[in-house]
C-alpha cells in the first residue's frame, strides 16, 4: 500500500497515468455519446472537418435579415490571389488612367476591386496579348460585377408533369438562417477518411482496438519473457544455455523481420486482431527474458532462497514465492514498455499491410495505411492521419512517462531532487 502511495507521488507517473486514463476512458465512454457505427460510410472522399449543413433545409428554414455588409467578405473569399495579381498587372501595364502609386496603395482586395471597376476599359489596346488573356480579363470583370449586383437568387421548383419551373422563393443577399433551426446537419470534428467514415468516431474505435492489441501482445510477451527468464536464471546449466541462446538469437535477428516473415506466411489466416497481437507478443519477449534472467541470477544465492531449497520446497514454489516478488517491480515496468512497443509494432505492421487484413475493423495502423494508400498526405487531407499519429505518440508517451515514474520510485538514484 505504501508503495502505491509512493508511486502516485511521482510526478512523471501521475502525468502519464492521467493521460493514458483519459485516452482509455474516452474510448470506452465516448462511443455511448457518439451516434453512429464507426464503420458507417457517411461522407465522401476526405471531406474536411467542420459542420455540414443540408442545403435544402436552409432554403426551407425561416429567414432572418441581418444588416451586415456581405460584400467585402465575398470579395475577400471569391477573389483569389491570382485574380488580384491579374488585376494589378493589367492596371499597371495597360491602363493609362491610373498611376502605379495608386495600385500599390490599394492593398486590400476591396480597394483593388474598386480601382478596377473605376478604370477597367475593355476597349484599351493591349499589344501582344493573347486572346485567352483578354478573355480572362473580361471573365474576371463579369465575376466582379456579379458579386456587386444586389440581385440575389430565386428558388424554383420543377413541376413534375409539365417540366416547367415555378418560382417558389426569392433569396435576398442578406438573409440568414439560424443553425438550431436546421434539422439536418452533421459535424465532422475530424472530417472523413477515404471511405467516407467519420474520422473521429473511427479514431476512438481504432484506439480501443490498438490498445486491446497492445495489452494482449504485451501480456503474452511479458509472460513468455518472465517464464523464460526465471527458468534460465534459476535453473541454470543446460536449460540456461539453451534458453539464453534462443533469447540472444531473437534479439539480434531484427524482430521486425521475423514479424514480417511470420505475418507473410500466415497469409489469409492473419486477418484478425488477435492473431496479430499473438504474433507481436511471440516476437517481443527476448529483452524481457534477458533482464529477468539477470535479476534472477543475482537473487539466486540469497539467504531466503537457500533456506527454501534446504527446506525441500519444490522448484516452482521457490520461484514463485521467493524470487518473483523481487522481480515484480521490474516486470511491471517491462509490461508497460511491452504494451507501448506492441502498439507501435502493430501500427508499423498494419501500415505495410501485414496486420489485420480487413476493412471491417479499424486500428490505428490500418487507418494510417488507408490514408497513405488513398494519398491523403499528397492531397493535403491532414485530418486522416495527423490525429492518428498524434494518438499513437500520446499513448506511447503516456505509457513511457508512467514507466519513468515507476523507475524513479523503484530506483531512488534516478529521482530528481
Amino acid at each position: 500500500m505504501h508503495l502505491i502511495r509512493e508511486i502516485f507521488k511521482s510526478q512523471n507517473f501521475v502525468i502519464g497515468f492521467v493521460i493514458f486514463t483519459i485516452i482509455f476512458l474516452s474510448t470506452i465512454i465516448l462511443p455511448f455519446f457518439l451516434k453512429g457505427d464507426p464503420l458507417e460510410i457517411v461522407g465522401g472522399l476526405f471531406y474536411k472537418p467542420g459542420t455540414y449543413i443540408n442545403v435544402s433545409d436552409t432554403i426551407e428554414a425561416k429567414k432572418y435579415e441581418l444588416k451586415i455588409d456581405t460584400l467585402s467578405n465575398k470579395i475577400s473569399s471569391l477573389i483569389t490571389q491570382k485574380d488580384q495579381d491579374l488585376m494589378r498587372e493589367w492596371l499597371v501595364k495597360y491602363c493609362n488612367t491610373v498611376s502605379e502609386e495608386e495600385v500599390k496603395v490599394a492593398q486590400h482586395p476591396m480597394e483593388l476591386v474598386e480601382l478596377w471597376l473605376k478604370h477597367y476599359d475593355p476597349n484599351i489596346k493591349m499589344e501582344g496579348t493573347t486572346i485567352a488573356y483578354r478573355k480572362s480579363l473580361s471573365r474576371l470583370h463579369q465575376k466582379i460585377e456579379k458579386i456587386f449586383s444586389d440581385e440575389g437568387y430565386v428558388i424554383a421548383e420543377k413541376n413534375s408533369e409539365t417540366g416547367e419551373l415555378a418560382i417558389v422563393q426569392e433569396l435576398a443577399n442578406n438573409s440568414y438562417v439560424h443553425m438550431s433551426e436546421i434539422p439536418n446537419k452533421r459535424t465532422f470534428i475530424l472530417g472523413t477518411d477515404n471511405f467516407g467514415r467519420d474520422v473521429f468516431t473511427e479514431l476512438i474505435s481504432a484506439i480501443w482496438n490498438s490498445i486491446k492489441i497492445g495489452f494482449v501482445a504485451g501480456s503474452v510477451a511479458t509472460l513468455i519473457g518472465l517464464v523464460v527468464g526465471l527458468l534460465a536464471g534459476y535453473v541454470g546449466g543446460m536449460v540456461d544455455d539453451i534458453l539464453t541462446f534462443i533469447t540472444n538469437l531473437l534479439t539480434v535477428i531484427p524482430s521486425f523481420i521475423i514479424l514480417i516473415l511470420i505475418s507473410v506466411s500466415l497469409g489469409g489466416k492473419g486477418n484478425d486482431i488477435m492473431t496479430t497481437a499473438l504474433v507481436i507478443g511471440i516476437t517481443a519477449w527476448p529483452w524481457t527474458a534477458r533482464s529477468v534472467r539477470a535479476q534472477t541470477l543475482s537473487l539466486k544465492n540469497r539467504d531466503h532462497v537457500n533456506l527454501s531449497k534446504l527446506s525441500g520446497h519444490s522448484l516452482v514454489r521457490i520461484i514463485i514465492r521467493d524470487i518473483l516478488p523481487y522481480v515484480a517491480s521490474y516486470v511491471t515496468m517491462a509490461y508497460i514498455l511491452q504494451v507501448a512497443s506492441a502498439i507501435l509494432a502493430e501500427a508499423q505492421l498494419s501500415m505495410l499491410g501485414l496486420g489485420p487484413r480487413t476493412t471491417e475493423i479499424a486500428t490505428l495502423g490500418l487507418m494510417l495505411r488507408w490514408a497513405i494508400q488513398f494519398q491523403a498526405p499528397l492531397s493535403g487531407a491532414w485530418w486522416a492521419f495527423i490525429p492518428v499519429i498524434l494518438s499513437i505518440a500520446l499513448i506511447t508517451f503516456s505509457l513511457n512517462l508512467m514507466n519513468t515514474g515507476l523507475d524513479q520510485v523503484f530506483n531512488p538514484q534516478l529521482r530528481q531532487n
Binding site: V252, I257, I258, I260, L261, G267, L368, P377
Partner: protein
C-alpha cells in the same frame, strides 16, 4: 590482448551460428505461405488455354523451373548451393530477373540513406544529451519534455509529418522517389543534385527520431555519471572539469553503444516504413512489393540481406565495444 582474442573468437563464432539459423528461418517461413504462387506466374502463360492437360503441363514446367516440385529439404539444399554461388533465386514478380539483381539495384539506396542517418542521429542525439546532462536548468525543463514527446512519435509518423509540411504545404522538397522522374541515373551534377534533394526528407525523418531517443538516454547517463564518486573526488582534488568531462562521457557513451546495437534491429523496421512512405527506391519498397505480390524468393532475399546487414553491424559494434571497455577483455581472461 589474449582476452580480446578470446572475446573476438567467441563473438564471431556465435554470430556465424546465428546467421545459419537466420538462413533457415528465412528459407522456411515464406515457404509456409498458403496459396500457390506458381499458378499466378503461370497464369500469364495459361491464359487462353482450355485443355486441362496443357495447363497442367505448363504449371508442372514452371514448378520444375523454380524447383518447387522437390521435397522441402531438397529445396533447402538447392537454396544453400545457390546461395554459395551468390544466386538468390529468380523473382516471381519481376520474372525473369534474378533476385540478386533486383536487390542489388535497391540496396545501394537503402544503405546510403540508413547508415548516415542512423549515425548522424546517434552522434547528434548523444551530443545534445550530453550537453543537457551537463548544463542543466532551462534546457532541462523546457526541451526535455519536448524531446521526450518527439521520440515517441513513431518513425513513420515523423516521416509523414515532414512529408506534409515540407512536401505539400511548403512545397520545397520532393515527395517521392529517389530522384526526379525525368532523370536517368547517371553521374551528372544535375542527377546528383536531384538525388540530394530527394534524400533530405527521408534522411531527416530518421535523424530526428534518433536524436530524440538518444538525447534522453545520454542525458540520464550523463547525470548518473556526473554524480558518481570518482567525479566528486576529482573535483575535490581540484582537477579541472574539462578533464573530468572526458572521462565522464567515455563512460556514459558505453551503454549508448549497447543501445545502438539493440536499436539497429528496430531502426531497420522504422526506416523501412519511412522508405515506403517516400516511395524511396530502396530495399524497403522492394520488400513491400514482394510481400504484397507474394514473391517469396524476393522476400527471402530481402530479409536475408537485411538480417546479414544487421548481424554484421552488430558484430562490428560488439567488437568496438570490446575494444572500448577494458572490463570485457578482463572478464575473458579468467
Amino acid at each position: 590482448m589474449k582476452g580480446f582474442r578470446k572475446y573476438l573468437a567467441r563473438k564471431i563464432g556465435w554470430y556465424v551460428i546465428t546467421f545459419v539459423i537466420a538462413l533457415v528461418l528465412n528459407f522456411l517461413l515464406p515457404r509456409l505461405i498458403p496459396g500457390n504462387p506458381v499458378a499466378r506466374i503461370a497464369s500469364g502463360a495459361i491464359e487462353g488455354l482450355t485443355d486441362r492437360s496443357a495447363i497442367q503441363a505448363v504449371i508442372d514446367e514452371y514448378k520444375r523451373l523454380f524447383g518447387l516440385d522437390k521435397p522441402i529439404h531438397v529445396q533447402f539444399i538447392v537454396y544453400i548451393k545457390n546461395l554459395l554461388r551468390g544466386d538468390l533465386g529468380t523473382s516471381f514478380n519481376f520474372y525473369p530477373r534474378k533476385v540478386s539483381e533486383v536487390i542489388a539495384s535497391a540496396v545501394g539506396w537503402t544503405i546510403a540513406l540508413q547508415l548516415p542517418a542512423i549515425l548522424v542521429g546517434w552522434i547528434l542525439g548523444n551530443l545534445l544529451g550530453a550537453i543537457a546532462g551537463y548544463v542543466r536548468g532551462v534546457f532541462d525543463k523546457a526541451i526535455l519534455p519536448l524531446f521526450l514527446f518527439i521520440s515517441n512519435i513513431p518513425a513513420f509518423g515523423m516521416a509523414i509529418m515532414l512529408l506534409l509540411i515540407f512536401g505539400v504545404y511548403l512545397g520545397i522538397l520532393p515527395t517521392s522517389g529517389g530522384y526526379g522522374f525525368d532523370l536517368i541515373p547517371s553521374l551528372t551534377p544535375e542527377f546528383i543534385m536531384s538525388v540530394i534533394e530527394h534524400y533530405q526528407l527521408p534522411f531527416w525523418s530518421i535523424v530526428l527520431i534518433m536524436i530524440g531517443g538518444q538525447a534522453i538516454g545520454m542525458r540520464s547517463m550523463s547525470i548518473y555519471e556526473l554524480n558518481s564518486d570518482y567525479v566528486k573526488y576529482s573535483r575535490f582534488l581540484g582537477i579541472k572539469d574539462r578533464i573530468i568531462v572526458k572521462y565522464v562521457f567515455r563512460n556514459a557513451v558505453l551503454p549508448q553503444i549497447t543501445g545502438l546495437i539493440l536499436s539497429l534491429g528496430t531502426m531497420v523496421g522504422g526506416a523501412l516504413v519511412a522508405e515506403t512512405i517516400f516511395s524511396y527506391p530502396g530495399l524497403g519498397t522492394r520488400m513491400l512489393s514482394a510481400i504484397t505480390g507474394q514473391d517469396y524468393p524476393l522476400i527471402s532475399g530481402c530479409t536475408l540481406i537485411i538480417t546479414i546487414g544487421v548481424l554484421l553491424a552488430n558484430l562490428v559494434l560488439e567488437i568496438l565495444y570490446g575494444l572500448l571497455d577494458p572490463r570485457i577483455r578482463a572478464v575473458q581472461e579468467d
